[in-house]
């Protein structure tokens, strides 16, 4: 990757500071984080999401679970308990299911959704080439116990987004959270409360019985 001048400068300054090394440079942090994704063939993640919308008085909070099977290129995302929304991605298609409404929709992956969900549904990048294809790296800030990778989704996904930050652990470089600030000042943060690499994914988790459901456009 060709780091942006500001990132390169930040890397040099960081390298000169006590307690930081070359490994903490912008691209170094991203590479280490990507390596943690590369090794995980199967993954189960519990997350907690908070959306603050300017026009609503109360923030929207939800908890959910994410299963990823990289080998099979499949993913299941669900929010709420019992789940209010289930999203299953298989290859280039995603299926959105609303069990309480008995409705579903099939659409192309990468289509309309909030950038946070789009990032989750699209799966996290596992190498630099994929990262650069999906995101433009702006800056990397190293904090006490975390590194903040500030990026911008490329293409349509980046339109309403002011900033898109991956928060990774400073030591283990595992993804801790995603924080998104929208153009109007609204925010969305997804904290990964529990990450299980190599998790045992229950059979049939990527299949949903749609009997009695009707197709809809959400």
């Amino acid at each position: 990757m060709r780091p942006r001048p500001r990132s390169a400068l930040a890397g040099i300054i960081l390298a000169c500071l006590p307690g930081t090394g070359a490994a903490q440079s912008g691209s170094g942090v991203v590479e280490r984080w990507l390596e943690t994704n590369a090794g995980a063939g199967k993954l189960r993640v519990e997350f907690s999401q908070t959306r603050k919308i300017n026009t609503l008085k109360v923030p929207i909070r939800e908890k959910g679970v994410l299963w990823i099977d990289h080998q099979a290129d499949r993913l299941r995302w669900q929010a709420g308990d019992p789940p209010k929304t289930i999203v299953i991605r298989h290859g280039g298609e995603i299926l959105i299911v609303r069990p309480d409404q008995k409705k579903f929709e099939r659409r192309a992956a990468g289509g309309a959704a909030t950038p946070g969900v789009a990032a989750l549904a699209g799966g996290f990048p596992r190498n630099m080439e994929e990262f650069e294809r999906k995101y433009r790296l702006h800056d990397v800030k190293v904090r006490k116990d975390s590194c903040r990778i500030m990026a911008q989704p490329r293409g349509q996904a980046g339109r309403a987004v002011r900033s898109f930050t991956f928060v990774v652990g400073r030591e283990d470089h595992r993804l801790r959270a995603v924080e998104i600030v929208f153009r109007d000042g609204s925010t969305q943060s997804i904290a990964f409360t529990k990450v299980e690499p190599g998790a045992n994914i229950p059979p049939g988790i990527f299949n949903v019985d749609l009997s009695g459901y009707e197709a809809a456009q959400f």
Partner: protein, 796 residues
């Protein structure tokens, strides 16, 4: 002979010519140069009259990252607003925040103007009992992470669903038919309303644009310093002021460059052939005087000069100089005084000017008014030129000849080396031309040619980028419907809608956008007033429900603004038949699809034809009140017209001139020789156009009558010289050859200097005519004498 130093005379006439050029006003209205009865031309004229704002500049921004382009666009808009001496207002794609703050007035007016049954749907949504459901649905959409982001965003700011217009209303909206941001967000446009100058004057527009360009450049360098690499953006300027400034500036340049080039090259040619400086200075003074006089007359007759007619000056100078040369040579050969000179060569010059003028006047039969205007100017100029040379230059030529009697010099006109090939060429060249037509591409008119398009135009490049980025591959074409009253306009729109529907069914059109519901409708507004009043009665209840559902104060802003705008509009409607949006943004948005001017009302829509160049779709949807501004089909229409012109004008002209030649020569052999000259010249042109990139188009094809005229002229002169020569035929041929070489070269220089013209049509006409005249000259000087001797059984 006058004792005034020649250099002073040249300087004086040069200044006169420069002043004349500076006095000329150039018109940049290109549609005036095209046949007005074509719906495409009418469409361009109406689009320009009703919807083009002379002071509205379009600034384009292109970058890599959508967010960077958006930020840059906002930053540039603010920067431009910081120059109120140049900029009245800047409009850009509304962000949802802007839409909430500035879009309320427009939204309120759209509902007021909507069909009553559509407004009834909104009233039902906001009625007690159902309004909570509407608000709850908005809340659910705002929270839904899988709803389209824009829909979720709008729902979060629009709990009452006021922005949820029916499809019918949305379809006609300016924002959808005229987007300001590309789908991927990497391209955006700003509309800049200029102020401070009269934008109808292209020189004022040039000055304004220069200052604005500096402002944009300042911003760009600041942005570049702060945002490197992928965050960089590039700007472009287009729109009416940019086009006007560019076209006007280019025309001035074309006129000056072509005249200067012609004067310089003809001077060099004269010196090479005659080795005399003094008569050259007088000749130059005469040419500049002719130019000044003709420009003065042109100003009186036409007022403005068009992009095409600027080419007349160079052509004129190339032609007028010939009369001076004839007088000069005659004076040196005979030693005549001015009166005797006028007696001996005056009739010839007069008839030559009349013939040339007639050939150029024949361009009036062309369907292109622009070409006709140029022809008229050359014709006027040629007559002025003949008079100036006969009455002002002749005394100078006579005086000079008296002081410097003829002593030969200059190259001889001998062409003996062509003798062995002259006769075979008479057969081979037509055969080669026929073969080229059969083997190569049959000569045809370039289908995509737009004669008045300016070459290397930054404004055009920015415009083309705008078309590609905002309208993608689909070529949406503006459609303009006009009427005298609002009611008539709605009737015409309905009729157009039916014709467009039929054209879509038959596959001629791919899609259409008709702004029917955005056109002010007095009857709808009067009927809707009561319903709007009823909704306003529930204002406090509705806002209370929005608050109770969990929306913040920011979430009620849009509803508040719409209610407030309705209150104002209803108050105004009590005294008026019709209400138009009052605030800047709403009015500007409406102006993009509806305008009222000169006692007419006009609506703008868009259609996308399946095959833009096929004119069947134009014929299917256009009428006396409906036209399209389609450049694609205009090219086809022009080519159709030109083909008609050629058969209607050119063929009778050939017949008439053949008859005249028969009368003049009274010899079938000489008639045959003249026709052979034309056939061989035409063959060479066919070969050149078949095997080189040179192509015929709807403009340069009118070089054919000009070339036909000069070709005949050259052959007549040479045949008469050969007849006149008697025993001294060789000497007569040599003298005439030298005269024709000078005339051919000077005319070719005049036409050739137009190759640098910025308008495609003028440039291509100049090239074709320059090549054609050189070919005519070669045939008349190099081949004709040998054919003459062979046909008349004379020794070479």
């Amino acid at each position: 002979m006058t004792r005034i130093p020649p250099i002073l005379v040249v300087a004086l006439f040069g200044m006169l010519a420069v002043l004349s050029v500076k006095r000329v006003r150039f018109s940049s209205d290109l549609y005036e140069l095209l046949p007005r009865d074509l719906p495409e031309v009418r469409g361009m004229e109406e689009l320009n009259r009703f919807f083009s704002r002379s002071g509205q500049l379009v600034v384009t921004l292109k970058g890599e990252a959508p967010w960077a382009v958006e930020e840059a666009s906002a930053s540039l808009a603010d920067h431009l607003r910081g120059h109120p001496e140049l900029v009245a207002e800047v409009f850009r794609e509304l962000s949802p925040e802007d839409l909430v703050k500035r879009g309320g007035g427009l939204l309120a007016w759209t509902w007021l103007n909507a069909p009553p049954e559509v407004l009834g749907g909104l009233e039902a949504r906001l009625a007690p009992g159902t309004s909570r459901e509407t608000i709850a649905r908005s809340l659910a959409t705002a929270k839904d992470e899988f709803a389209a982001p824009e829909r979720a965003f709008v729902a979060s700011y629009d709990p009452l669903g006021l922005a949820r217009l029916d499809d019918a209303l949305e379809n006609g909206g300016a924002a959808r038919s005229d987007p300001m941001r590309s789908d991927d967000g990497t391209f955006e446009v700003l509309y800049v309303e200029g102020r401070g100058v009269d934008f109808g004057d292209y020189r004022a527009a040039q000055g304004w644009l220069r200052r604005l360009r500096t402002v944009v450049a300042d911003w760009e360098s600041g942005w570049r310093a702060a945002h490197a690499g992928e965050e960089a953006v590039r700007t472009g300027l287009t729109g009416t002021p940019a086009f006007m400034a560019e076209v006007g500036g280019e025309m001035e340049k074309d006129l000056s460059v072509s005249v200067a080039l012609t004067v310089i090259l003809i001077s060099i040619l004269f010196y090479v052939m005659h080795r005399q400086l003094r008569p050259l200075s007088w000749l130059l003074a005469a040419m500049l005087g002719i130019l000044a006089a003709t420009l003065f007359i042109a100003g009186l007759v036409y007022g403005d000069l068009s992009v095409m007619s600027v080419g007349f000056a160079a052509i004129l100078m190339g032609l007028a100089v010939d009369y001076g040369i004839v007088l000069f040579r005659e004076a040196r050969e005979t030693g005549h005084d001015a009166r005797a000179l006028r007696r001996s060569v005056g009739p010839g010059i007069f008839w030559a000017a009349l013939t040339t003028g007639t050939v150029f006047l024949s361009l009036n039969f062309s369907s292109l008014p622009g070409l006709a205007e140029m022809g008229n100017l050359v014709a006027i100029g040629v007559l002025v030129g003949a008079l100036v040379m006969l009455f002002l230059f002749a005394p100078v030529a006579a005086g000079f000849a008296r002081d410097h009697p003829a002593g030969g010099g200059g190259p001889s006109g001998g062409t003996g080396s062509l003798r062995p090939v002259a006769s075979p060429l008479a057969v081979v060249l037509p055969l080669l031309a026929a073969g080229s037509i059969l083997l190569g591409d049959r000569p045809h008119l370039e289908p995509n040619f737009h004669p008045f398009r300016i070459r290397e135009s930054p404004a055009m490049q920015a415009w083309q980028q705008l078309q590609a980025e905002l309208r993608g591959g689909a070529r949406a074409i503006p459609l303009i419907v006009t009427a005298r009253t609002h009611a008539d306009l709605h009737r015409h729109l309905e009729a157009a809608r039916q014709r467009i529907g039929a054209a879509e069914t038959s596959g001629l059109l791919v899609s259409s956008r008709l702004a029917v519901h955005w056109i002010p409708h007095p009857a709808h507004q009067q009927r809707n007033a009561a319903a709007i009043g009823r909704i306003l009665d529930h204002r406090e209840r509705l806002l209370g429900e929005v608050d109770a559902a969990g929306f913040s104060a920011e979430g009620s802003l849009l509803a508040d603004e719409v209610f407030e705008a309705w209150r104002r509009q209803l108050a105004r409607l009590r005294d008026h038949e019709l209400v138009l949006p009052g605030d800047g943004f709403a009015r500007w948005s409406l102006d993009r699809v509806f305008r009222e001017k000169d006692g007419l009302v006009a609506a703008l829509a868009a259609v996308t034809p399946a095959m833009p160049r096929d004119r069947r779709w134009v014929e299917a949807i256009c009428s006396a009140d409906t036209s399209v501004a389609s450049l694609g089909s205009l090219g086809t229409a022009l080519n159709e017209r030109i083909r008609g012109d050629l058969t209607r004008v050119f063929l009778p002209m050939v017949g008439l001139l053949t008859l005249m030649l028969a009368i003049v020569y009274r010899s079938w052999k000489d008639l045959l020789l003249s026709l052979l000259c034309l056939a061989v010249s035409a063959s060479i042109l066919v070969i050149v156009t078949a095997w080189t990139p040179l192509e015929w188009n709807s403009f340069n094809v009118f070089g054919l009558p000009i070339l036909f005229g000069t070709g005949l002229d050259f052959s007549i002169h040479m045949i008469f010289a050969l007849r006149r020569g008697g025993d001294d035929r060789g000497a007569a041929q040599g003298v005439m050859a030298k005269a024709l070489i000078f005339c051919g070269l000077s005319s070719a220089i005049g036409f050739g200097s137009l190759a640098t013209a910025s308008a495609h049509g003028l440039s291509s006409l100049g090239i074709v005519c320059a090549i054609g005249i050189l070919v005519n000259m070669f045939v008349a000087v190099g081949l004709l004498p040998h054919w003459f001797r062979r046909l008349h059984g004379l020794r070479d």
